[in-house]
């Protein structure tokens, strides 16, 4: 079945297209009109992108877009971090794909991975050239890409030699790497401090988004449990918090955090405004995640908890081992949707004067040397955000399949 399916699909594709697009005369006319419009738009776009657009604005400001005003002499720390990330990604990729959790294809390079590696190779080779980066930076990107592929190959080839118990511990690498990354970015432990006001661009956007995503999830679960609790104080506290946050627009809360805290706290005691914004994002997202998780909790039949309790499990254990795993599985799509909108919400930081990706773009467009290059900059911004959101979406779908007890791979296990 698995080997014949592609052939059948290919053969029937033309016929299906014919049936769907040109089934009747009206359908045919509509299809032709639509295709012509799409073609015209596509041609117009390519003519603009190839002949009119001036892409120099991106190459000249690539550092600004990537890391903002991060001091040049400290940027080696970020390169080191990217190297570590590439290494960890390569290892995880290799272990995940060459050893699917439960049976599946045990090939070193499954077909999808060829595609992924090829696309990555094109991007890694072509982008630094297209942006006219300096040779030193080009070489660094190529080295990092080589490291990624090497790690992928090594993990797939020699991963078998690692005992199962150690391989299970491997995912712990990521939280560890996150902590190491924070130290590398902000300094401390012998490294020069780089104040958050000098972080910017993609670095700030990704940092804010990951920080808020990682912290809002546990907070949201606690709030959801609190809202379902029978203790009045806990329940009403959670309800008031959730409804207050959901009743105020994020931009209001951001302004509140940026400007009112200065009045409330004695001078010098309020945290840096980048962290203030990060916490506001976290608290904001937590309220929404709480509601997503609550929908999952409601979907778990009451009998599950009662059964667990009657088996003698104390309440916390019953929640952790019986109720939450089922609830979170139901809540996963909604929660990831929340994460994606959180990533997009980070653009609001540019309105409170932080140089996130959008803020950087706006200040670059104000540079008299690059005035009027709005279309080029916004297009690249859109592609960047789209890529990040698609990656999050794909990741969540993969996770859903893995967690779904009815999916084929899980049934084999």
């Amino acid at each position: 079945m698995a080997s014949t399916a592609p052939l059948v699909v290919q053969a029937s594709l033309l016929r299906r297209l014919q049936k769907e697009l040109f089934g009747s005369r009206v359908d045919g006319l509509l299809s032709i009109a639509l295709l012509a419009a799409l073609l015209a738009a596509g041609l117009g776009f390519f003519r603009w992108a190839l002949f009119q657009a001036q892409w120099a604005v991106l190459g000249a400001n690539s550092t600004l877009f990537a890391v903002g005003r991060y001091p040049v002499e400290q940027q080696w720390r970020l390169w080191l971090l990217i190297g570590l990330l590439a290494l960890a990604t390569g290892l995880s990729w290799g272990l995940l794909r060459a050893f699917p959790g439960s049976g599946g294809v045990r090939a070193l390079w499954p077909r999808n991975d060829h595609w992924a590696a090829a696309i990555l190779a094109v991007l890694a080779l072509w982008l630094p050239m297209a942006l006219h980066l300096t040779p030193a930076i080009k070489v660094r990107w190529w080295g990092i890409f080589a490291l990624l592929l090497l790690a992928r190959w090594a993990a797939g080839r020699y991963g078998k030699a690692i005992p199962q118990t150690y391989r299970r511990l491997f995912p712990l690498l990521w939280p560890l790497l996150y902590l190491v990354g924070m130290v590398l970015i902000s300094g401390g432990l012998g490294l020069v401090q780089v104040p958050p006001s000098e972080w910017g661009g993609l670095l700030l956007t990704v940092l804010m988004a990951t920080f808020a995503i990682l912290l809002c999830f546990p907070l949201g679960v606690l709030l959801a449990l609190g809202r379902r609790s029978e203790l009045p104080l806990l329940r009403w506290g959670s309800v008031i918090y959730i409804e207050f946050i959901r009743g105020a627009p994020l931009i209001t809360l951001l302004f509140l955090g940026q400007n009112i805290l200065g009045f409330l706290l004695p001078g010098g005691f309020s945290p840096d405004r980048v962290w203030r914004a990060a916490w506001v994002l976290t608290f904001f997202a937590a309220a929404y995640v709480a509601e997503a998780v609550r929908s999952g909790l409601v979907a778990v039949p009451a009998g599950q908890l009662e059964a667990a309790r009657s088996l003698g499990l104390p309440m916390p254990l019953a929640l952790v081992h019986v109720v939450l795993p089922q609830a979170l599985r139901v809540a996963l799509p909604a929660t990831v949707g929340q994460f994606i909108s959180l990533l997009q919400d980070t653009t609001l930081l540019s309105l409170v004067g932080l140089l996130d990706l959008l803020g950087t773009a706006r200040t670059v467009m104000a540079n008299p040397m690059f005035l009027g290059k709005n279309a080029e900059v916004y297009l690249v911004l859109a592609i960047l955000f789209w890529s990040c959101c698609v990656a999050l979406g794909l990741g969540s779908r993969g996770l859903e399949t893995r967690l779904n007890p009815h999916s084929p791979s899980a049934q084999k296990a």
Binding site: V72, F255, I260, V352, T360, R362, A366, N367, L371, G372
Partner: protein, 353 residues
């Protein structure tokens, strides 16, 4: 009577003693802000960060622009290092809150000075001298042959709706008793797009804004700014009312740049001028200005040579203007009102005495 005179004498003696005591400690200047800035080792300057020619981050990650240069000159005067500035990008909605909550020491962010912003019962700001006289202007295609606003009468004008720009235009056209057709748009981008498509013969906005937009046009040279000014927009740096000593210091740093231009002192020739002044006792004005004689700097709580430090850091006002928005820059703005008073402009520094 004698007793009374004795008491009065003793009282006045005590009083003058107290005054002497006051003058003795802390150099007589009591500015919490300045003390805080010196203790912190950096000036926190509120800028917009997104206005062409006024403040933006250039490709190497450093802040540039006319507003930014005011921050640098102030930092040079107070901390003797123009690089010791922490920039804080502020939106127009949060700028006053950030200033009054003490998050920024100085607001150098295209702020129009108005009565209600200055008054203690309003925003309670203390404004430094105007660093850019902006105002609403009108742009037309050069090919239209229009030379003044009167000639626009009866023709369509593109304007952003819901702004003071729209009201100013209506007021002025009524004054000129000239009929016109306003084409109103929701956003600035739409307004300029319509103008470029030829849907109107003129577009109106702030002068600096028009100049900035023009640089992005396919043929910038084919568009003219009419000499008419439809509104007054003096853009001033600002501090808080509550610290008059700090406001004075900022005010005279700005004046020093204007005065330097009047005296022909530039970043390039300042060392030679200072050497001249030191050697020649007859150059009394320059000697006072550079702090060779007198205690002008000390009276402000600044170093004696604060003028030298500021001008060395950013140049005189004319150099700041030319570099950022002048005819040599992509914005290509004429000096106009921002010319020195001797050349018929409004840039006028009171004497350094």
């Amino acid at each position: 009577m004698f007793l009374l005179r004795q008491v009065l004498f003793a009282g006045s003696l005590l009083g003058s003693l107290a005054l002497i005591g006051c003058a003795g400690d802390g150099d007589g200047i009591q500015s919490q802000k300045m003390a805080a800035i010196k203790a912190r080792g950096s000036l926190i300057c509120g800028v917009d960060g997104k206005i062409p020619g006024f403040s933006f981050v250039s490709s190497d990650g450093s802040y540039s622009g006319l507003d930014v240069d005011i921050c640098k000159a102030t930092a040079a005067a107070v901390l003797s290092d123009p690089a010791k500035v922490t920039y804080r990008d502020l939106s127009s909605t949060e700028r006053f809150a950030a200033l009054s909550s003490g998050e920024v020491d100085l607001l150098s962010r295209n702020t129009t000075m108005t009565l209600s912003r200055d008054a203690a019962g309003g925003n309670a700001l203390a404004f430094a001298p105007t660093t850019f006289f902006d105002g609403q202007a009108v742009m037309v295609p050069a090919s239209s042959g229009i030379q003044s606003l009167k000639q626009v009468a009866g023709k369509p004008i593109c304007v952003e709706t819901g702004t003071s720009t729209e009201l100013n235009l209506a007021d002025r056209m009524r004054e000129l008793s000239a009929a016109y057709t306003p084409l109103k748009f929701q956003s600035g981008d739409q307004t300029f797009a319509a103008y470029l498509q030829g849907r109107c013969v003129a577009v109106t906005s702030d002068r600096s804004q028009l100049a900035a937009k023009r640089t992005g046009f396919p043929n910038p040279a084919e568009h003219l700014l009419l000499p008419d000014m439809l509104s007054k927009e003096p853009l001033n740096p600002a501090t808080i009312n509550a610290d008059p000593a700090w406001a004075d210091a900022v005010r005279w740093v700005v004046y020093s740049l204007i005065q330097a231009e009047e005296l022909g002192v530039t970043a390039a020739n300042i060392d030679a001028k200072v050497a001249d002044a030191k050697a020649n006792k007859n150059l009394a004005q320059l000697r006072r200005f550079f702090g060779v004689d007198g205690d002008l700097g000390k009276q402000l709580g600044l170093p004696a040579d604060f003028v030298v430090r500021s001008v060395k850091a950013v140049g005189n006002y004319g150099e700041v203007f030319e570099r950022n928005v002048g005819t040599g820059s992509p914005l290509k703005l004429e000096r106009g009102f921002n010319q020195q008073w001797r050349q018929g402009g409004l840039m006028y520094s009171p004497p350094f005495l």
